[in-house]
Amino acid sequence: MVNTKVNLSGLTLDNPVIPASGTFGFGYEFADIYDINILGSISCKGTTKGPRFGNPTPRIAECTNGLINSVGLQNPGVEKVISEELPKLAKFYHKPVIANVSGFSIDEYAYTCSKIDANEQVGLIEVNISCPNVHNGGMSFGTNPNSAFEVTKAVKNVTTKPVYIKLSPNVTDITEIAKACEAAGADGISLINTLMGMRIDLKTKKPVIANKMGGFSGPAIFPVAVRMVYQVYEAVKIPIIGMGGVSTAQDVIEIMLAGATAVQVGAANLVDPYACKNIIEALPSVMEKYNINSLSEIIGGSH
């Protein structure tokens, strides 16, 4: 029997496979499709202080081996997430979940994280710093080591649970940002978020997405994700949740070899609702094929 268990900042996951934020709602929708308790954990839809409608539609553009989304963090706000969404999920899912938090100012991040930290279903907080900072000309928190440091510090000050900072890949040197988060006390790093992308419709000669640009993800970005996980693994000592294009059990093993302790699956859930289930079921035989007895032993194994 192979061992798929991994330890993520004190949480023991039955397997490293976690649906990525924004591609799995608040999980309960998938409970009609399969028993979601097989998942290592669930990263919930990005949550903000207040409710957000998000961006105008079209929000989706197809790409070769991927898609661009510009959902714009549609969510009912942290109060309703705590009072309605998480209780609905609790009926179907009995393990700790990952709360994914976004904000547009340091105060908003701190407010939302402190609220969500108090919820007992939440085992870990993932802070998405790809959002624009309204107090700094709209530049993303995740593209500047100082603002990444500030957000991390502010969130760490008001929380008790492990805090993972989710990095944007739209930077020149990802290791610089990761190091700033580690220095500010982050318990781990999640990466990668989507790459900025754009498609133009040849018929209308206009951008496909109403907001013109959006986040590109799916299998096409997997090599970028592997590279960035590999670099960050060498730069910091804290654990990494790796993601970006992961679609198969082989991909899970590859990104773990690059340095990930756990792995998130995003776009794949959208095109195949059974993606995470299929990956989890395939893991043991793929592990055997590559002579892997325990997944926790291969983390960073390529270095």
Partner: protein, 244 residues
């Protein structure tokens, strides 16, 4: 919702750029007319949503227009091709509201979902009137199929090459009184229908989709009853909730 491998039973051209495809497979997840399927095509990352035109216990009829590379590929699929398909998506039409004389208004490739709806309404004892709108006579399809159901069916073409000249609303005087309406078609037609109908009714919308089953929030619209995902809380919205 059911995910399964559905195999192509037939795939033939029925009008200019319009094809009819039948698929064989499990239809037990279909709960209402106006639901749709989402088809995985080789070489394309996202699935293609297509309305269910008709179905029985083991087959589904789809009618689609070639508008881009995905539907182009679909038009070339041969019999027995196996397609990974999600079936029974969306809310579908509520037939309980129809009254005795519902009016069905389909524009272009908005016509297909009207067909099973029409059959189900007749089964309930209603006497539907049908308006099918097209640009020109080469695009007309399913006029005979609707007439064969015993309905009063009126066709409009924008250029007047077949049926009444003009838009679907130009055929309203031919219909007379109706109790309720159901419609699917392009947005400009929707607005005309909205402004020219004097009863309640239901509209079946389209939106670009990431998943088609409610996971990504890619297809959300605002309604008077709050945010709705076209793929899961729609595609059918009632007239009174629509915000244009």
């Amino acid at each position: 919702m059911n995910q399964g491998i559905y195999s192509v039973l037939s795939n033939e051209k029925i009008a200019k750029d319009v094809f009819k495809m039948t698929l064989s497979g499990d239809t037990s997840s279909i709960t209402a007319p106006g639901q749709f399927v989402n088809i995985k095509l080789d070489g394309f990352y996202l699935r293609r949503p297509i309305s269910i035109c008709d179905f029985d216990n083991h087959s589904i009829t789809l009618i689609y227009k070639v508008v881009g590379q995905g539907t182009e590929l679909m038009s070339k699929l041969s019999v027995e091709t196996e397609l990974d398909t999600l079936v029974g998506l969306g809310n579908g039409f509520d037939i309980s509201k129809s009254g005795d004389r519902p009016l069905l208004i389909g524009g272009g490739v908005g016509v297909p979902p009207m067909f099973k709806l029409c059959k189900d309404l007749i089964k309930r004892g209603a006497k539907p009137a049908v308006i099918l709108g097209f640009n020109t006579k080469d695009e007309v399809f399913y006029e005979d199929e609707f007439k064969a159901l015993g309905t009063d069916t009126f066709v409009t073409t924008v250029d007047g090459s077949h049926g009444t000249k003009g838009f679907v609303t130009d055929a309203f005087p031919l219909v007379g009184k109706y109790s309720y309406f159901y419609t699917c078609g392009p947005l400009p037609m929707f607005k005309a229908v909205y402004n020219n109908t004097d009863t309640e009714g239901q509209f079946s919308f389209e939106e670009r989709m990431g998943c088609g089953f409610g996971a990504c929030m890619g297809c959300t619209c605002k309604t008077k009853y709050g945010n709705k995902r076209i793929c899961k809380d729609g595609p059918v919205l009632v007239k009174e909730e629509i915000i244009w």
